[in-house]
C-alpha cells in the first residue's frame, strides 16, 4: 500500500481512495445498494446541480431539482442500458427532470415560459454564490426564462437546435431567435 506519511507529494494530488469503477457502482446501485448509490451521488452531484442552477436560476429551486433528479435516478437506474456513458444518460435525465418540473406547475411554467422581460437583466433574479464566475453567472440568471434555458442548453451544454426544439416543443426558428436574443442580452450585460 502506498505510504501516506512523510509529506508524500502524491497524497496531496491523487484521489484519496481508489473507488469502485462506475459500472460496478451502477450494478450495485441497481441492486438497491444505497452505499453504491451514495457514491454515484457524490460523484455526479456537482454536475447535476450546476445544470439545475443554470436552468432554474434559483438556488433553493435548483436544490429541489437536484434532489428530484437523484430520486428519479434511484427509480430509473435499472433502465440504464449502457448505450451512452452514465454521465451522458444522467445529464439527459437531469434536463428532462428540470423541463418536466417547469411544465408541471403554473408557477414554474410562468417562470420558464412567461413573458420575456428584458428588464430582468437589470435585476438578476438570483445572485450567484460562492466561487462562481459572478458576472456571467449572474447575467445568465437574469436572462428571460425561455432564453436562459435555450442558451444554457445550446451554448453551455452543447445541445443542437433540433434537440432543444424537440425538448421544448418549439420550432427551431424560435430556438435560434431566442438564442440570438440571449447572447445579445448577455453581451450588453457584460459590457
Amino acid at each position: 500500500m502506498t505510504a501516506l506519511c512523510q509529506h508524500e507529494p502524491l497524497l496531496l494530488n491523487r484521489p484519496v481512495v481508489d473507488a469502485d469503477d462506475e459500472s460496478a457502482l451502477i450494478r450495485r446501485a441497481c441492486q438497491r445498494d444505497q452505499q453504491a448509490f451514495a457514491q454515484l451521488y457524490h460523484r455526479h452531484v456537482g454536475r447535476v446541480h450546476a445544470l439545475c442552477r443554470r436552468m432554474a436560476a434559483d438556488i433553493p429551486h435548483a436544490e429541489e431539482l437536484t434532489q428530484a433528479v437523484f430520486v428519479k435516478l434511484w427509480e430509473k437506474l435499472g433502465l440504464f442500458r449502457g448505450e451512452s456513458t452514465f454521465g451522458t444518460w444522467l445529464h439527459r435525465l437531469t434536463v428532462n427532470t428540470v423541463l418536466t418540473d417547469f411544465r408541471s406547475t403554473r408557477r414554474r411554467e410562468a417562470r420558464v415560459f412567461g413573458t420575456d422581460d428584458p428588464a430582468a437583466l437589470e435585476t438578476p433574479s438570483s445572485p450567484a454564490s460562492a466561487g462562481l464566475r459572478l458576472d456571467l453567472e449572474q447575467a445568465i440568471s437574469g436572462l428571460p426564462p425561455r432564453a436562459r434555458v435555450i442558451f444554457v442548453l445550446h451554448d453551455v451544454e452543447g445541445y443542437t437546435h433540433e434537440e432543444i426544439a424537440a425538448l421544448l416543443e418549439l420550432q427551431t426558428g424560435t430556438t435560434k431567435a431566442q438564442l440570438h436574443r440571449a447572447r445579445q442580452l448577455l453581451q450588453e450585460a457584460l459590457r
Binding site: 500500500m1 502506498t2 505510504a3 501516506l4 506519511c5 512523510q6 509529506h7 507529494p9 497524497l11 496531496l12 494530488n13 484519496v16 481512495v17 481508489d18 438497491r32 444505497q34 452505499q35 448509490f37 451514495a38 457514491q39 451521488y41 457524490h42 452531484v45 456537482g46 454536475r47 446541480h49 450546476a50 442552477r53 438556488i59 433553493p60 435548483a62 436544490e63 437536484t66 434532489q67 437523484f70 430520486v71 434511484w74 427509480e75 454564490s129 460562492a130 466561487g131 462562481l132 464566475r133 458576472d135 456571467l136 453567472e137 451554448d155 453551455v156 447572447r183 448577455l186 453581451q187 457584460l190
Partner: protein, 333 residues
C-alpha cells in the same frame, strides 16, 4: 454564434465551471425520499418527518431532525432482545476475504475480537447491527472490538473502509493508529496506510476525529489527514487547491511558518479549516486567523476578536455553529 461579436462571450462560456456542488448537503433529504420509495432498504423511519422545509435554519435543522428520527428508530430496535451473541453479519463482495483466517465463502458472523482481512482482490461488507453498513476494500485488516447498544467499535489497522451509518452521534467508532473516528451520522471513507497514517473523507453528514484530547470535526465535503502521534489533522475541503493542501500539510507537520501560506491561500470554502486553526495556533497569531476567518464568515454577534484571541471556547463554539458544525459541537459528551 457570430465570431466577431461573440468570441469573448464564447471564451467566458468555455471557462464556466462544469460542476459546482450545492451549498448544503442534499443527501439526507434524497435518502429520505428514497426510503419512501423503498421502505425496506433503511431502518423504519416515517419519511414524512424527513420532508424538507424552507427556512433560514434548515441547513442545520434537517440533519438534526433526521438524526433524532433515526435515533428513535434505532432505539426501538435496540430495545428488542438480541437474537444471538455480539457479532456483525459479514459477507464477501469479491474474491476471498477471510474472517479469523478462514476463507469467507458466504454470509457469516464477525464476532467481538474477530479479524476481517482482505487481500488485493477481495472485498467484504459488514452489517453494523441495525445502524449501518461498512464495506471493506482490498488490502484491509480490521477487528471488531465490541458491539453493544451504546458502543459499536472497530479497529482499522490498515486499508480502506466505507461506512454508512444511520445512528445517533457517537455510537460508531473506528480506532486507527493515528486517531479515533467518531460517527456523527451518515457516510465516510477512511483509509489507513502501512505507517498508520489515515485519510478521512466525509461524503455525507459529520465525523469527528479524536486523539489525545485534540479533536477535528469534519463535515461532508471535507477531508482530514492524520499522522500517528500528531493528533487529528486540520480538515480541508476536498476541492481545495494543491497549494492549500500542501500548506495545511506542512502546518500539521509542525511547520508554523506554513500558517501564512494557509491564511493567504484560504478562500470562501476554507472557513472550517480556519476555524480549526483557532485552537492550533499560538495566541500571538490567533488574531491573524480571526481576521481572515471573519473576512470569509463574519463573526456572530457576541464573538469578538479579543475573546477569540484569548481562547474563549464558548465564542469559538458559537462561531463553529454558525459554520454548520453544530452537530459535532452539540454531540460532544
Amino acid at each position: 454564434m457570430n465570431d466577431s461579436e461573440s468570441s469573448p462571450l464564447r471564451d467566458q462560456i468555455a471557462a464556466l465551471p462544469r460542476e459546482f456542488p450545492p451549498a448544503r448537503d442534499l443527501w439526507p433529504e434524497i435518502q429520505a425520499q428514497m426510503q419512501r420509495l423503498d421502505p425496506n432498504t433503511l431502518s423504519q423511519v416515517e419519511p414524512s418527518a424527513l420532508k424538507s422545509t424552507r427556512s433560514t435554519f434548515r441547513r442545520y435543522r434537517l440533519p438534526l431532525a433526521i438524526a433524532a428520527v433515526l435515533s428513535l428508530a434505532a432505539g426501538l430496535h435496540w430495545l428488542r432482545p438480541a437474537a444471538s451473541g455480539p457479532s456483525w453479519a459479514v459477507s464477501p463482495l469479491a474474491g476471498e476475504p477471510r474472517v479469523d483466517r478462514a476463507i469467507l465463502t458466504g454470509p457469516a458472523q464477525l464476532r467481538e475480537g474477530g479479524w476481517l482481512e482482505t487481500n488485493s482482490t477481495s472485498r467484504a461488507r459488514l452489517t453494523v447491527g441495525a445502524i449501518g453498513e461498512v464495506s471493506v476494500e482490498p488490502n484491509s485488516r480490521l477487528r471488531l472490538i465490541n458491539t453493544s447498544s451504546t458502543n459499536h467499535r472497530l479497529q482499522l489497522v490498515r486499508g480502506t473502509m466505507h461506512a454508512m451509518i444511520w445512528a445517533p452521534p457517537r455510537l460508531f467508532f473506528v480506532e486507527t493508529p493515528s486517531a479515533t473516528a467518531i460517527d456523527l451520522g451518515c457516510a465516510y471513507t477512511l483509509t489507513v496506510d502501512d505507517h498508520g497514517a489515515s485519510v478521512l473523507e466525509v461524503t455525507s453528514g459529520y465525523v469527528a476525529l479524536e486523539h489525545g484530547g485534540r479533536e477535528s470535526i469534519i463535515p461532508s465535503g471535507l477531508m482530514c489527514i492524520t499522522r500517528p502521534g500528531a493528533g487529528p489533522g486540520t480538515p480541508f475541503a476536498v476541492t481545495a487547491s494543491t497549494e492549500f493542501r500542501q500548506a495545511i500539510d506542512r502546518f500539521d507537520a509542525g511547520d508554523a511558518a506554513a500558517l501564512s501560506a494557509v491564511i493567504t491561500k484560504a478562500g470562501r470554502d476554507d472557513a472550517i479549516t480556519l476555524w480549526h486553526l483557532l485552537t492550533r495556533v499560538s495566541a500571538a497569531t490567533r488574531g491573524t486567523v480571526f481576521d481572515k476567518l471573519a473576512a470569509l464568515q463574519p463573526a456572530p454577534s457576541g464573538v469578538t476578536r479579543e475573546g477569540i484571541v484569548q481562547g474563549d471556547a464558548a465564542m469559538r463554539s458559537r462561531w463553529g455553529e454558525e459554520l454548520g458544525l453544530s452537530v459535532g459541537i452539540a454531540a460532544r459528551p
